[in-house]
Amino acid sequence: MSTQNGPDRPKTPAESADVNKVVTDTKAAQDAGVPMVSLVVDGKSVSVPKGTLVIEAAFSAGSDIPYFCYHPRLTSVGACRMCLASVELEMFGQRRASIMATCTVPAADGMVIKTTTPDVKKAQNGVLELILANHPLDCPVCDRGGECPLQNMTISYGPPNTRFIEDKRRYVKALPISDHVVLDRERCITCMRCTRFASEVAGDSKLGLINRGAQSEVGPFLGGTFDSNFSGNTIEICPVGALTSRQFRFKGRPWEVKSSDSICTKCSNGCNIAVGHRMGEVVRINGRVNEDINEEWTCDKGKFGNADVNSPERLTVPLIRDAHGALVETDWDTALSAVVTNLQYVAENYGSASLAAIGTTTGTVEDNVLLNKLYRGVYSATNLAYQLNEAPRRLPKASIVSVEKAQHIVSIGMDLAYDQPMYYLRSVKAQRNGAVVVSIDSVIGLGDVALTPESVVLVPDTLAAADYQVIDSACSAAGCGYSVLASDANAYGPYLAGLDGTEAPSVSDLSVGLDASSKATDVLSGLSAGSIKHVFVMGSDPVTHMRDSRLANAAFSSDAFVVVTSQFMNATTAKASVVLPIASFSETAGSYLNVDGQLQTVDAVVPPKAGTRPQWQVMLELNARVGNPLPVFTPSDVLPAGLVPGGSE
């Protein structure tokens, strides 16, 4: 049997996600006490919360209805007419059944839905024949082939052959509409998912419909480009291969691509992603559902930026400074011995006060734990810094989810869409519900904003200390408080690892707030003054990223022995005595605390790039070499007891 339809038909991951979303929404609404309505779907009685669409009620009842334009996170348009089913209801005092687009009709008490009658099949078949009429059917060369809802629905619900003998619509194929997205208008079925995403979710309307009728096409503003930080999502929600990724193009057929769960570390939001990899190489990033963070979206920084794991610029060989002052390649053993030798020498000759380390806010909590075990545990060092910036250390008052309920949102000194993409998407939601969203460039503009106790004020962690004072007084005067949004994937990881000496650090300490002094500045002073002779910089680039980069530059130009772990060369590695090439986020396991305090743990997705090592293994090895062998086999073995990762869903 070639056609297999009904609830057990094969589904693409996106289709399964849609059904799951309906199920979770239904449950959530039920728990929230939304009144229920009862109806019958294919002979089965179901109760669903009021407001549920008939197509969703059918999913809840375990029936299947084919669809294209319907998407549980977009408003219904009823455009593709694929979701036809027989709906019997009472209207104008009469009860009658008719074939309706079920994605537009809210379920109501007493409805009788039939999804499999011959009439319904015929209608669905007819619509699919029309959808396919002008479709090029170029699945063998289409990137979407193998995970394409249209292809799937055609196999399950479609006509067995085509009666269309006319010339199909022709367009220039594979038109790049941005750095990331290619458009193939011949394949587009005008479902308007992408354009609705642009206006409703991304809120930037960077993609729209132009022309009308059979000439309708999607595209950016005439002659422009699709320059949205969220463009990549349209690739995933397009139910055909009309929008595809330039990055993934011809990188592999979807069925050859394995998918593993991970967390994006390009910013602090911690979006849940599915990393697609083929033969050990990361080929693409898709969104993965986490209702508390990214729903199912990603930003382009995460979706396309993570391709840097494949960059030829990656460091793959340890470097060491030679007698002539040049950084030269070496092997791991030599590099690690050099670190250990210097560490022991400085400790013995100058004491632990001469040792310093700067923890990582981009690596894992576990990386920091092992760093702490080495410097504080073995050598009792106390110059352990855990934050490069001068921002108050406190988890934000406003969590990502809470922002969508806000009425007045003020962001200061950020491009929210780029810096805090998921905060931004929630603010778009809030705006659609009537919230006022204001964005000001710096604290100077604060005087013009009327803050109220309900205002949600969002602030980056990169301002000068004085700016926070201004914000603090403005906000306390208005009674609203403000939220400092960290920029790094694991801004509080070093704290949770106990790097500052706290005995049993916990996330709840962070809700209260910590001492705000920046120990990193102390390390710089120590370096400049010559009192610090050895510093371990874990995965960060203070020379570039500290506010006073002149001071940082001078500090790292001192005679101290500087060890830096990094994936790429940067301003700090350029000053290092030893550079250790480390694995990327996709190549290492560990835990991250996101911007609003959600702890998530992930596994490695692919093996470390040849020559690199996961940071935690480097630290384990160093501990062992100085006589502190640890019974650690996976990063989770060192996670502080107080930390229970919520993990990803």
């Binding site: 009429a133 006319e166 022309n211 009308r212």
Partner: protein, 436 residues
């Protein structure tokens, strides 16, 4: 015995200068508005209900039912919207009415606004209608000057504003929900309707209570108020559900094409006579009773009441529609006319839904192929199947209207299709379009 054609809307149609306020007022103009503004809105709706008035824009939906669905308070702004988009092929009545009797429209709007408790009215005029637009806007300006529009009109404590809004070339904007999209500055695409969305009377333009009525519907209200609903309902000689008079644009192969106000239920043969009968020396082949979306009717019967009920019962077309009666004599190539209509609907499809967008695209290609001699017998079934995939499945009624001429022409004139398929031309209309 010919029915006397009571003239209500067109009573003063030919009075010189009736498009000017003074002349209009001299002929009793704005008297009904004076009356209406003093009435309880419910009482006006009741008169309209008793009159049996049905929408003149095409669907023939009883006007009072729409008006009654409005909230009975003025907590939020209500909008009264006039559909002057008149794009249905064969329909030319609203243009004439706006050119000749703009104050009748303004007065009709004012009376309707009282009934639905609207202070604002938008008249959505198709972009080609510059002259009617100027005519109506001038009438509006004069009505402001005369105190029929503006604040606290006639001491009623009520404000009334009427604005014109010019379309820009899209037949679909005549569809009421697409019209609302267009009025709000969007692409002219239809919006969800009940049960998928609330009635426009609850949440229409800008999410406020709104109603869309045809030009002629509104222009009929003063006559209803003047006569009283009951008297108005006595006019009409056919079905008890088709009351009053209606404007018909009669075009095609008749001796005296034109726009006529005709009492509903007048026998079709008399209607034909009013337009001077089929062009001399020719016979009736087929006709479209109410605008192209209604489909083709067979030449018999001729003696049936020409009204909302009589037409569908006797012709198997969709019905009276917008009153665009098109007469075709034996020289007409029905396949070619249908082809033209298919291309029209294809051109005008908004592209929102698959059946209409793709179905009409496909049909248009098939018709072109048949017309150029590449037809196959199986094309007839294919055309039928495509119509079937559009019918009842398209988002709005444009798709439905598009296939009706196709299906009726296939039913009545299949032989003309076959003639194209077998001979590459229409042997049934060889006299040509213009005839002798």
């Amino acid at each position: 015995m010919p029915v006397e054609q009571t003239q209500l809307l067109y009573r003063h149609r030919n009075v010189p200068g009736i498009n000017r306020l003074e002349t209009y007022v001299a002929h009793g103009g704005y008297e009904q508005f004076r009356k209406a503004v003093a009435m309880d809105p419910e009482a006006i709706i009741e008169e309209v209900k008793v009159s049996g008035l049905r929408g003149r824009g095409g669907a023939g939906f009883p006007t009072h039912i729409k008006w009654n669905a409005f909230p009975k308070n003025r907590d939020v702004e209500h909008y009264f919207i006039i559909n002057a988009d008149e794009g249905e092929p064969g329909t030319a009545k609203d243009r004439d009415l706006m050119n000749a009797l703009p104050h009748l429209l303004v007065e009709g709007c004012l009376c309707s606004m009282v009934a639905v408790r609207a202070a604002k009215c938008y008249i959505y005029i198709r972009g080609e209608y510059i002259e009617p637009w100027k005519s109506v806007q001038k009438a509006i300006n004069d009505a402001y000057a005369a105190g029929f529009l503006g604040k606290n009109v006639l001491g009623s404590g009520l404000d009334f504003d009427i604005y014109t809004h010019l379309g820009a070339g899209a037949y679909e904007c005549g569809e009421e929900s697409a019209l609302m999209s267009s009025l709000m500055g969007e692409r002219g695409m239809p919006r969800l309707k009940p049960p998928a969305a609330p009635l426009p009377m609850i949440s229409g333009v800008w999410k406020r209570p709104s109603v869309v009525n045809n030009v002629e519907t509104a222009a009929t209200i003063p006559a209803i108020l003047e006569l009283g609903g009951a008297k108005y309902a006595e006019i009409g000689v056919g079905s008890p559900r088709s009351r009053g008079t209606k404007l018909f644009s009669i075009s095609g192969h008749v001796n005296k094409p034109g726009i006529y106000e005709i009492v509903l239920g007048t026998p079709f043969s008399e209607v034909l006579d009013i337009a001077g009968g089929v062009r001399d020396g020719h016979q009736l082949k087929t006709y479209i009773p109410g605008g192209s979306s209604m489909g083709f009717a067979p030449p018999t019967p001729l003696d049936y009441p020409f009204d909302y009920e009589g037409i569908p019962q006797n012709t198997q077309t969709l019905g009276l529609g917008s009153g665009g009666l098109m007469i075709f004599d034996e020289t007409t190539d029905v396949f070619k006319v249908t082809h033209r209509l298919v291309d029209f609907y294809h051109h005008e499809s908004c592209g929102k839904c698959t059946p209409c967008r793709e179905g009409l695209d496909w049909l248009s290609k098939i018709y072109a192929r048949i017309a150029s001699g590449g037809g196959r017998e199986q094309d007839i079934d294919l055309i039928w199947d495509i119509c079937d995939s559009i019918r009842g499945k398209s988002f709005c009624a444009l798709g439905e209207g598009a296939i009706w001429p196709v299906m009726t022409s296939l039913r009545l004139f299949r032989h003309e299709y076959l003639s194209y398929i077998h001979h590459g031309r229409n042997t049934y209309s060889d006299a040509g379009q213009l005839g002798a």
